[in-house]
């Protein structure tokens, strides 16, 4: 139980990119702990390195200094039991596979029986509201539905950790709200530790238990805000809650400030 206290541990993390001899410091001395089952949102202006940070947690980018541990283990490559959803669904889904085969993709490295696999895929598709679209191809679906497929794929192996990199930045506003509720419902039901990167402060507050605000580059943690809004949250009620409005004002001030 002690271990689950800090499921993700980020220790003095820095990242420097080199480009033709010129060094660009993106992240500086970031330390952060995320407890098991917690939902955190990483916010900041566009281009400050939010995506770099989440890609480092995903094991896709190596730190220049410092370390990331997940469940006590040092991250050097994408960890097992992680789901990762990116902004650009049209590029991360495989157009030659049907929806169900896209969702079943992570099973290729497991040796679970065909019938279990089928049942699990059907269950996950049901949970993202795509039960009737299993045989369709991604390019036959709308953007929001494609992102649902990507979400289903990230959930099919029952991950303990879900990483969302601007997942709703390419869908329309209405779909965004729908997908926010979809994600919130699933991760709280299954107690999945979740990290979302977003430039949308309202979205961050609406979804997260804690909002981490990154400063301008080189990015470091400039503010951490606890969001003590009652769950389950609802788009209409929560967003008009005075506590929500207050947090929002506070975060916008910090983002503009300095």
């Amino acid at each position: 139980m002690r271990r689950s206290e800090k499921y993700i541990e980020i220790l003095k993390l820095s990242k420097v990119f080199e480009n033709n001899g010129a060094e660009l410091k993106v992240l500086e001395n970031i330390s952060l702990k995320v407890t098991s089952g917690e939902f955190i949102a990483i916010c900041g202006r566009s281009g400050v390195g939010k995506s770099t940070l989440i890609r480092m947690i995903a094991g896709l980018v190596n730190p220049s200094s410092g370390a990331i541990k997940i469940n006590g283990e040092l991250v050097s490559e994408p960890p097992n039991s992680m789901g990762f959803v990116t902004q650009d669904y049209s590029r991360s889904l495989l157009p030659w596979f049907s929806v169900e085969n896209n969702v079943a993709l992570p099973f290729k490295t497991t040796n679970i029986s065909k019938s279990d696999r089928k049942a699990k895929v059907a269950e996950v598709l049901e949970s993202v509201g795509l039960a009737d679209f299993a045989k369709f191809y991604p390019w036959q679906l709308s953007g929001g539905m494609q992102q649902r497929v990507a979400i289903a794929r990230s959930l099919v192996l029952d991950p303990k950790l879900l990483l969302l990199d601007e997942p709703f930045a390419s869908v329309d506003a209405h779909t965004q709200l729908e997908l926010e509720d979809l994600i919130a419902g699933i991760v709280f039901e299954k107690k999945i530790t979740t990290v979302i990167v977003t430039h949308d402060i309202d979205e961050a507050i609406y979804l997260a238990d804690r909002v981490i605000l990154l400063s301008d580059s080189p990015a470091s943690v400039s503010k951490i805000i606890q969001v003590k809004l009652q769950r389950p949250r609802s788009q209409a009620k929560t967003r008009s809650d005075p506590k929500f409005v207050k947090l929002r004002t506070q975060l916008y001030a910090s983002l503009r400030g300095k």
Binding site: E77, S92, P95, L105
Partner: protein, 255 residues
């Protein structure tokens, strides 16, 4: 239905015009190299027999298909490996580029003197001609895998070979098919040239023999048959492309 019919009528308009004018003009022209189409049709009736098909045409088809498949499969195989493994690419690509730069016509005498006359020589000529363009387009297509898909491969922990087979090759299939399609023309060319240079069999040999014995109408028959084979293969490929990678050809506005 009517739209489709009018499309067919319009697409036949220019070829008919050319044939009719050719017929009319050649009736008054003494040029022996352009016999009127009616005479070519007569020659066609005389030339094309079961026997002729079972020798010349069959031989050409064997050379074309066997050569194309061997070349294409080797090209896909090595192209995929070279696309995936950067070190292999650095080692092999300069040689591939060099061999590819030599036109297949220039390679034919070389292959002839090494392998002698015979069916296997002609098949090899076609295979070598097809191999390099297929290989190069496959390398290029695989190497250009989108970074999102490479990330996906890593987060799914697929590893290199599984990733290559499950993600990178299918993702490149549109461009690979385009390369395979372009190589059909190369294959037909290599087939004709290898038959013309001393084999004595096949449509290429028939064309060159008819020309040297001054049977110009027969020569035209051979030329037209090669054209028809080209059109048929092209049409077949269009069908295959649209069936196997509809998302790709749709996104290119080709469907």
């Amino acid at each position: 239905m009517i739209k489709r019919l009018s499309q067919i009528v319009w697409s036949l308009f220019l070829p008919s015009l050319v044939l009719i004018s050719w017929q009319l003009i050649s009736n008054y022209s003494p040029n022996p190299f352009f016999p009127p189409p009616s005479r070519i049709v007569t020659a066609l009736r005389e030339v094309v027999s079961v026997d002729w098909i079972l020798t010349s045409v069959k031989s050409s088809f064997i050379v074309l298909f066997a050569g194309y498949f061997i070349g294409a499969i080797l090209g896909l195989l090595f192209g995929s490996l070279l696309g995936e493994f950067i070190k292999m690419r650095i080692i092999f690509l300069p040689i591939c580029n060099f061999v590819r730069s030599i036109p297949s016509i220039a390679k034919v005498p070389l292959i002839l003197s090494i392998m002698g006359l015979g069916l296997s020589t002609r098949i090899s000529t076609v295979a070598i001609a097809v191999l390099f363009p297929v290989l190069m387009s496959t390398v290029r297509a695989i190497a250009a895998t989108k970074s999102e898909l490479l990330d996906l491969n890593r987060t799914l922990r697929f590893g290199r070979i599984r990733g290559l087979v499950t993600i990178r090759i299918p993702a490149a299939i549109g461009e690979i098919l385009t390369g395979l399609h372009a190589s059909v023309q190369v294959a037909v060319l290599a087939m004709i040239v290898s038959e013309m240079l001393g084999s004595g069999v096949g449509i290429g040999a028939f064309i060159i023999q008819s020309q040297s014995t001054f049977r110009i109408a027969n020569m035209w028959v051979g030329v037209f048959i090669v054209g028809l084979i080209g059109i048929a293969l092209n049409y077949m490929f269009l069908k295959i492309e649209r069936k196997s990678a509809p998302w790709y050809f749709k996104s290119k506005g080709l469907m």
